[in-house]
């Protein structure tokens, strides 16, 4: 706050550590996928890489937090962070857009085509296949065994929708409390948000187990299972990231960080949480419900 000049950091080794971490992770993973889990590159290598990335995050964000709490960032730096976070979330939106695009393409085009909307394809290649959504029989059942049934939107998914929407409200309440400098309310609402987030994940895990064990709905059960698990799975991954971010914010709150007018990290985490929430609404409508 105090500095007039835009803060320019010293040379730093964290980015390079991050690159090495990323590389170790993906090289290990690729090697394990291609050659099985052996040799120089394997899942151990991947775990080491992930550990390096975690180490880098602690180091890098630690530095940023120190600089921030040390008053080195002026309002302009704050604006930069805000913009960066917004554009980052936009890029995440586009990532999900690719998978939603695949879902719409499958539902509106490829499945109907295979089932007869494209008469020649149907007649010459898949005469026995009839289209439908949810897809309870695949064009070639010997390669992709269809699910027995799919998850009912009115059950856990609806509950999870309520949970996630409420958590968006509670995180906003926490934000208002922070701005009003009510630390107690802040801690309370943030704690509730985190609990709701992890509850959501618990239900989601339960639903996956049910899908695999009882419904025979799997990643490998054709395009329905494919889009279902990829969309909800990536969303679940993002919930995990968001909930972790909020947990860290909670810890920082307990350490006395953030001021009513200076709490970008908190805001960034809550934006991210809202984003995860909005994606879920899309999922609920297009994956579970319609």
């Amino acid at each position: 706050m105090s500095e007039q000049k835009y803060y320019l950091p010293e040379p730093s080794y964290w980015p390079l550590v991050g690159s090495i971490g990323l590389f170790t992770t993906v090289f290990g993973f690729a090697h394990a996928l291609e050659y099985g889990n052996g040799g120089v590159g394997n899942l151990t290598m991947m775990y080491i890489g992930l550990a390096i990335i975690a180490f880098m995050m602690f180091g890098w964000f630690g530095t940023v937090i120190r600089e921030s709490e040390g008053g080195k960032y002026n309002a302009q730096v704050d604006t930069t962070f805000r913009m960066a976070m917004m554009w980052f979330i936009f890029s995440e939106v586009m990532f999900f857009a690719a998978f939603f695009g695949a879902l719409f393409y499958a539902r509106q085009l490829s499945v109907p085509w295979l089932g007869g909307a494209d008469p020649v394809t149907h007649q010459y290649l898949w005469p026995k296949f009839s289209a439908g959504w949810p897809l309870l029989h695949t064009p070639d059942p010997s390669k992709y065994a269809a699910p027995k049934d799919v998850i009912d939107a009115a059950g856990i998914p609806l509950l999870n929708t309520i949970i996630l929407l409420s958590s968006s409200v509670t995180v906003t309440l926490a934000h208002h409390a922070l701005k009003a400098n009510k630390r107690g309310a802040l801690t309370f609402w943030l704690l509730i948000t985190v609990i709701l987030g992890f509850t959501f994940l618990g239900f989601q895990a339960h639903e996956y187990i049910e899908a695999y064990t009882e419904l025979n709905l799997k990643l490998t059960s054709g395009i329905y299972g494919t889009t279902f698990f990829m969309l909800t799975g990536f969303h679940g991954l993002h919930v995990t990231i968001g909930a972790t971010m909020l947990t860290i914010m909670l810890l920082r709150v307990l350490k006395g960080h953030f001021k009513p007018d200076h709490h970008f990290a908190f805001e960034a985490a809550s934006w991210y949480w809202h984003f995860v929430d909005v994606v879920w609404v899309g999922l609920f409508i297009f994956v579970y419900w319609l």
Binding site: L114, D118, V120, T121, Y124, L125, P139
Partner: protein, 385 residues
């Protein structure tokens, strides 16, 4: 490659750059699209020429202004720079003009496109399947069905370091063993699909190019106005044999077409009968070599050594030097998830028996045994349950 050829090439280029027309007249230097032999290919040609002329004229105008400016508006000529830097009128005009030109192009283009997609009233229906790396033709109306491979002469000459003079090979890389044969003046509807990866069936002079997509069927059609042989090539990267799967279409008179159909049916009957025949080892080896070169050599190499790390060697291979049932099984059903295809669908029992026999007794493999067509049928039956 002689020096004189190089010089000839350079002169050719100079000619082309200086003036389009005279260079076009020079033998060997094709410059433009061929109008082709179907109504559609003519329309495409006209469209191509229309747009080509438009851009040539626009180009001459724009480049003309630039060249004029470059020559005259130089500091060395003592010009002092003007100060204008915008003019709404001019800017609107040169936004609208291109737009108008585009509309003028879009109208005929739309017409042609609609005609191309009119599949109604076909006279003949042929299912075309792209394989790595050959074409399969299935005459749906009369049961004629066969594969079309790159001609033997080209296969040999196109080997790396073959030393062959490819100029002496007839239609090098653009000749097949069994061309598609169709009658002149008839609407031929193609149902195009892919067996493994995407290919694209393209014969420029027929004005047809359509992708062969695995799992989906594309429709296309042509009606050739002239008897003749028309050549094309696969037009979608499909792996290492992409440059080696040409397409040849023979357009013949109706009478020739009928007699060709008759021959095909006879040949098919003879092949069906030979499944019950017992062959000598020599017969199998001789036929096997032929099958090997057209169906297997592309990957496993003519010497059976494969490409290390990419395609396995057959010389000393575990499968080839193992029990014959396993060997037959691999050839008939392929190895899912690898480039090894299920040849049971593509080759006759005789072919498979022959090629397996050949592989077991070549490239330094000395198994000494042989397979008969009946063995192949047995393997096929046993596993299709």
């Amino acid at each position: 490659m002689s020096a004189s050829k190089t010089i000839k090439s350079l002169i050719g280029l100079l000619g082309a750059v200086l003036t389009f027309a005279p260079a076009a007249a020079m033998a060997g230097y094709e410059l433009n699209l061929h109008p082709g032999v179907t109504k559609i290919s003519h329309e495409i040609y006209d469209l191509h020429m229309l747009v080509l002329w438009i851009v040539t004229i626009v180009g001459i105008l724009v480049f003309g202004v630039m060249i004029y400016s470059i020559i005259n508006h130089r500091k060395s000529k003592g010009v002092t720079p003007a100060t204008f830097h915008e003019s709404t009128t001019v800017e609107v005009i040169w936004t609208v003009i291109p737009f108008v030109i585009l509309v003028a192009i879009a109208v005929p283009a739309t017409k042609t496109l609609l005609q191309m997609s009119d599949m109604s009233n076909p006279d003949i229906n042929i299912k075309v399947v792209g394989w790595q790396w050959k074409w399969e033709y299935d005459y749906l109306d009369n049961g004629v069905h066969y594969f079309s491979n790159l001609a033997d002469s080209s296969v040999k000459a196109s080997e790396l370091g073959s030393g062959a003079d490819v100029y002496k090979v007839d239609h090098y890389l653009r000749e097949v063993d069994h061309p598609m044969v169709v009658p002149v003046g008839k609407k031929v509807r193609l149902l195009i699909t892919g067996a493994d990866v995407i290919h694209s069936w393209w014969v420029p002079k027929l004005g047809v190019k359509h992708d062969a997509i695995p799992g989906h069927v594309n429709e296309s059609w042509f009606r050739a106005d002239k008897v003749g042989t028309y050549r094309g090539q696969c037009a979608e990267l499909c792996g290492k044999g992409h440059g080696f799967m040409p397409i040849v279409v023979k357009v013949v008179s109706e009478a020739d077409y009928q007699s060709w159909l008759g021959e095909q049916k006879k040949a098919a009957m003879a092949a069906a009968q030979s499944t019950n025949k017992v062959f000598t080892k020599d017969e199998l080896m001789k036929h096997g070599e032929k099958v090997y070169n057209s169906s297997c050599a592309a990957c496993h190499q003519p010497n059976g050594k494969g490409l290390p790390g990419v395609f396995p060697a057959l010389a000393g291979s575990k499968t080839v030097d193992g029990p014959i049932e396993g060997h037959l099984h691999t050839v008939v059903f392929g190895r899912p998830g690898t480039a090894m295809q299920a040849f049971g669908k593509q080759l006759s029992a005789v072919d498979i028996a022959a090629v397996v026999t050949y592989e077991r007794n070549s490239f330094g493999n000395h198994m000494g045994d042989m397979a008969q067509p009946s063995d192949v049928v047995a393997v096929e039956k046993q596993n299709s349950k």
